[in-house]
Structure formats: C-alpha cells, structure tokens
Symmetry: C2
C-alpha cells in the first residue's frame, strides 16, 4: 500500500528538544541565532522553547529572553511547549508566540503513573481541565496527541487497539467542550516503533477516522526514525515533527534512552528525492544543522549535513 | 505493495569494510577477535578481508594473517573481496575461505572511466575474462552485481531502465559460459537511493526476472540505509549486506562520501521487531558492535548498540 502525499508539513522542534537536554550552558544569543537561521529556510512552524521549571531544566531558564530576541519572520509560527497552568501563563505573557492547545493522552498507564502520578481516569479529568483552561483564555484547540503510542519502557508493547480507544476518548473530550478534533499526533516517545507497526497503527486509525489528519513524532533511539517516517508517508501521513541535525539527544552518550527526534534535513532530503514538497530550502537547512553542531559543541547525529545533498552532484554530473 | 519475507539473509561486511578504511593501525589479533565474536552470533556469511594492494590499503596488508588466525566456526562462510587476478590467487592461497565469483557491472560509465579506466564495452570484455578465470579455477559463479545502481556522483541519476539493461547483459555473459545467474546484488555505492526508488528499481527487475533473487548493498551516507532496506523488504528482498556498528565509514569525518554500510544490528532489530527471522542473536551482535567501537577507538554510527534492544524492556514490563 502506497499513498505518498504530495506535500508534507514539518514542525521544527530542534531548539526546544535540543537546548533543554544539552548540558553545557548555551548563550541565549546563540539559541536565537539558530532560531533566526531556521526561520530563513522555509520552515513554517518552529517550536522555540518550553516553559518549564528553570531549576529542573536550566537550558530553558531563559525561555522568555529567547522568545523576546527572535527576529520574527512573517509567515513563521513560533511555538512553545508547556506542561502546566503556570507554563501556559508564561507562554501567553511572552507574547509573539503562536499558541495552540491539545488534548493529550498516553497509551501507557504505567508511564502516566511513574511520570505524572496520574491514573488513566485522572488523566482524562486532567485533559478536560486543560482544555477548558485553554478555551477560557482564547487559545484554540484542534489537536489530540497520544504519547507512548507504539510502546513503553514501563509497560511494553502498545497494540493499535489501545491507540484506537484513546482516539475515541480524545474526540469525546473535545466534543464535550464543543471542540472538533481533526488532527492527531502520535508520538513514539520511547522509540519502540518499526515501520510495519507504524503502518498497522496509522492504518487502523485512518480506517476508523478518515477525517483525522495524522502527524508523527518519531524518536531515533534505535535508528528507525527515517524508516518510520517513510512508512508514515506511505500511509498518507503528511505532518511530522523533526529536529535539525537530530538535536535533542546524543546517540553516543551510551546511556540508554538518549536520542533526538528524527533529523529534519534527512527527512527533507528523503521527501524531496521522492518528489514530495516541503517548502524548505535543503541547502539552507543543512547550514542550520552545521550551525547547531557548532552551537552545542559536539557532533550531532544527522547524516545529510555531512553526506551532502545531491543537488550539487547532479549539477556537476552529465 | 507489501511482500515482507519471512526470513532474511545478512552478509556481514564490517571487518572488510571497516578495517580497510580505518586510519589507525589495528592489531591483527583484534581483527580476528571481532571476526571470531561475529562467528558466534548466528551470522552465516562474514566477509573477513580484501586481498588488495597492502601499500595502498595498509589496513588489509595482513589479510593472510587474519584469515589464518580465524577460529573457524562450522556453518559460517568466511568470504573475501578481490579486485584482480592477483587478489584472487592470494584468496585461493589463503585457504579456509568460501570463494564465489560474480559478474560485475557498473551502472555509470563515467564511474568506470574514472575509477577503472574502462569503457562500458571493455568492462563487458573484462567480465567475460573474470568469469572464465573463476571457472577455470573451479570457483563457482552464480551472482551478478551492479554498482552505482541508484545514482553516481560522476554521472548523476540512474534510471531503472539502465539497471534492467545491465541485468540482461549479466545474464548473457553468464549464459555464454554456461552459468545460470540466479542472484543479483544491487549496490547503492554512492548513497543516492531513497526508498521509493528502491521500490521502482527492484520492482522493475522482479517483474522482468521473477526467478532472480535480489540482494541489496546500501550505504548510509545520507541516513537512508534502514529506510531503503525496509523498502527492499517490502518488495520481497531477502538478502542484505550490512556492517556491524556501521563500520566502514565515519559520519563525523565531515568529508563528504565517508559512510559505512547499513548497520547490521539496526537491520536485525528492525527485522526481528517486524517478525522477520534472521537467525542472528541480537544481543550477541550488539556486544560485537560495542567491541568494534572499542577496537577502532572512536564512536561508530549504529543506533541499537546504544539505544538497546527491546527484549530486556519487554521482560521488565507488564
């Protein structure tokens, strides 16, 4: 089965994923430098920062300053992550940001317990509360998201049926507040997915919810990121999170679990070579990847930034 | 279209691909140590060395000593690469090796010119000569191989039609010597392939030559290795070259073109997670990947060696 989209939308999450995990202190100005450079590539969505506890996540302590310093490019949506009411208030106060809420579920009850001390049912209640809070502030919500959608280190495999049930719950929660959920983000939070599974789970959802636009958030811990993205493309998925240079983890840290999102320029390279538009200038994006490596001061996992695109080779050839 | 095989065959090329490219002198004993460890994983085919000019490729100057030192594991085929008559004679003299010839074409005439100073027609003549020489020595030949099958840095894109023509020529050359070619290796020598192209080219060959077993040799320079392997699996390809830990190149060398084969343990991980047998013990293979990194003394690109398999997590979960 192949149903490649003609155009895909990529949300760049490198600055947020990367700078929150990097150990070395990185100057605010250099974070802004990367975001500004990414703004010139054609990317329409850039997740710039997260509003989290700066004591726990020192790399995000300067989130407000980063947002304030961005050279706003018209047409680019600068986004942010927040995990609670306080974070949301900071995001609103920062201004300049494109804010959207979502209805967030987790396919692993054990993960919910361990990380958030919430049961499945209390998480449902919490989702109602978050939704209400967004709507009360005039922040639009149209997207659901399911973390651990393909497997969980605590709970093990996640069957497609579990994910399907959660999609129903997400739509019910939305409906209870007059929100029509028409987008769904599936996150392979702990890098359990393989391509055949992406096809099974996405296929099951598309069959039951053909009106739902599906997006994928893929981690590359086990090297499956690009192959999983390809499987998604073949199922008609046209929306991906990605991270320039693979920012967000270091595969050479040796400690398990450390790995970034699928690499933006590798994903863009694959799309372009298969005739799928992204609206992104690959050569400029590669320059951003090289810049990202310079900023963090160590090698990052993306391949195309060192392997090179084929444009120059094609010109030189024949 | 999906036609996943039930079992795939993997030829391990890490020792040959890796030790020929590594700069630092590596002790013969350590090369043997890796080959011996790989022999205990269930791998049935290990390309141990190449018999090439030791002055040009110092890492292979000890090829005979490596072969002599292997602790031969019953059931494992130890193989070698050679590029000319002299190399073949050395391979025969070394003994212990499983030798097979092949009929080798290149999809790029410019690549042939630049690297071998041969025209397309003189390359055909050379293939006849190599085949004759193998048969005269009692070395079996059943496989054709096409390098630059998906694109070439000198010549640019390679259409499936070019590859199809070469398959015809290979079979004609074989037939002229009474050899029935029933295997075909397609090599993405310069890492131009993307998954959709793998499907197009493999599909075109399978349609015209349904009796031909197709194998893929995929380089990972642009991060497409595993995705290309998946596309091959979906087309029913059940034979792959691969390189433990991604030995054979360093993606952080920054100079373009340096990259290893698709990583064996990442490929095995993907296959097992999709229910495809390989006959290989993934945990032992991961130990070999860690050993390979220790031997070369720098990080190697494979992911699963640091991300870990899921077996332990599954056991701990639920």
């Amino acid at each position: 089965m192949s149903d490649l989209p003609r155009k895909v939308h990529i949300k760049e999450e490198g600055p947020r994923e990367g700078f929150q995990i990097e150990k070395g202190p990185i100057a605010t100005q250099r974070k802004i430098e990367l975001i500004d450079a990414l703004s010139e590539t054609g990317l329409a969505h850039i997740q710039a920062v997260s509003f989290v506890n700066g004591k726990r996540v020192p790399g995000m302590a300067d989130a407000e300053a980063v947002v304030a310093g961005i050279r706003m490019k018209p047409g680019v949506h600068y986004e942010a992550l927040w995990l609670n009411e306080k974070g949301l208030e900071r995001a609103i106060a920062a201004g300049r940001l494109h804010l959207e809420g979502n209805i967030s579920m987790c396919a692993s009850e054990k993960f919910l317990q361990v990380n958030y001390n919430r049961s499945f049912e209390s998480n449902i209640a919490y989702a109602h509360q978050v939704l209400q809070s967004c709507l009360a502030r005039g922040i639009p919500v149209r997207r659901g998201q399911i973390s651990a959608a393909f497997g969980c280190n605590y709970q093990g495999d996640v069957p497609a049926a579990t994910v399907l049930d959660l999609v129903e719950r997400i739509r019910e929660i939305g409906a209870a507040h007059g929100v029509a959920v028409d987008e769904l983000l599936l996150a392979d939070s702990m890098a359990w997915a393989v391509p055949a599974q992406i096809k099974r789970t996405v296929g099951a959802i598309r069959e039951r919810h053909p009106d739902l636009r599906i997006a994928l958030h893929l981690h590359d811990t086990r090297g499956m990121g690009i192959a999983n993205a390809y499987a998604g493309l073949e199922m008609g998925v046209d929306s991906f999170d990605a991270s320039v240079a693979g920012l967000g983890g270091c595969p050479f840290a040796r400690h398990r679990g450390a790995a970034g999102n699928v690499c933006t320029e590798d994903l863009v390279f694959m799309c372009h070579e298969m005739g799928i538009e992204t609206g992104i200038d690959l050569d400029r994006l590669i320059e951003c990847a090289v810049l990202a490596e310079d900023i963090v001061g160590h090698p990052l996992p993306g391949s195309v930034k060192s392997g090179g695109s084929l444009a120059g080779l094609r010109q030189g050839a024949s």
